[in-house]
Subunit: 184 residues, 2 copies
């Protein structure tokens, strides 16, 4: 059984194993941590896909998926545990408030680490549906669909069903109208 000291900030990630220096924190099994992280992410995690105009791209729009988890800076232990567990992502202050945020945006990390985790250890709230749409967008991007107008329509149609309460810079419905009208 691999063990994890989740209050250690000096962590390293080796394949499917986490081992860290001893500290005041508890040692927990990886199975415990896997379920714990899903529970934590159910409350504090956010799957988002931003779509922004980008003139240099043939299709005119850039798709950027992101998975992030925020927490007050004085209780950031779990963010470091997330970084160690997934072996990727960065931790930095969230400009929107006084929290810290762990975030990963790289498609290969999202598809290789984040998506497999939440497929195996699913969220138990309706947020799982957001994750499933997010995972679909990542797979569509891996297939290069974000580089074509028709593929982008698939992606935007998926994104518009996500995070209905969240804020967006671009309205998905308007973007779909634009994409359906534009034949480039």
């Amino acid at each position: 059984m691999s063990i994890v000291d989740v209050r250690s900030h000096s962590v390293r990630h080796c394949c499917d194993n986490l081992r860290v220096r001893s500290d005041a924190g508890p040692l927990v099994s990886r199975e415990f941590l896997s379920a714990y992280i899903s529970g934590y992410a159910d409350g504090e995690g956010c799957f988002t896909v931003s779509i922004s105009p980008r003139a240099t791209l043939k299709v005119g729009w850039e798709v950027r998926p992101s998975f992030s988890v925020s927490q007050n800076g004085d209780r950031a232990e779990v963010l470091y545990a997330l970084q160690a567990y997934f072996g990727c992502g960065s931790i930095r202050p969230d400009r929107s408030d006084k929290t810290l945020k762990w975030e990963t945006r790289k498609l290969e990390e999202l598809l290789g680490r984040v998506v497999p985790h939440f497929t195996r250890y699913p969220l138990l709230s309706a947020k799982q549906r957001d994750f499933e749409r997010f995972a679909l967008v990542c797979r569509l991007m891996a297939d290069g669909e974000h580089r074509s107008r028709l593929g982008l329509i698939k992606i935007v149609s998926t994104v518009r069903e996500m995070n209905p309460g969240g804020k967006r810079r671009y309205d998905a419905d308007e973007l779909l109208v634009t994409l359906n009208r534009d034949q480039r």
Copy 2:
């Protein structure tokens, strides 16, 4: 292995086992749910002890511990899972915002169900220290310490170390001055 359908709202609790009707939600093991709930509570849970004046009590003050977890109403599945898992508590709108809150305040439930859970499946952030102080207050109350001035001083001294960022109706330091001055 007992299984749980966490998206079912028609749940029942039998000893250490949860079984519920089938629904769209996933079936998960109790070990998974135990770790998941600790992760969820690390983000969204709150251990509080309120201390209020109560003239009808000999010591003049009432101590009320509470464990609660809040969530947006549109993703309340985990609150129902918490209620089923712990077999206690009530779910109601939180007057302070637009969320729902699952909460238990009964000392026998806190000591018999909540404290054993977080002892066995600890929080991985600094919130665990709040839990440990909370558990100590519950044990002091079980010993009747809240009914004596000296016992109440022990309790308030513990509470003043909890949730430093939280709001309180009564300042613990001032209350300690009052209790140390008052000899009734």
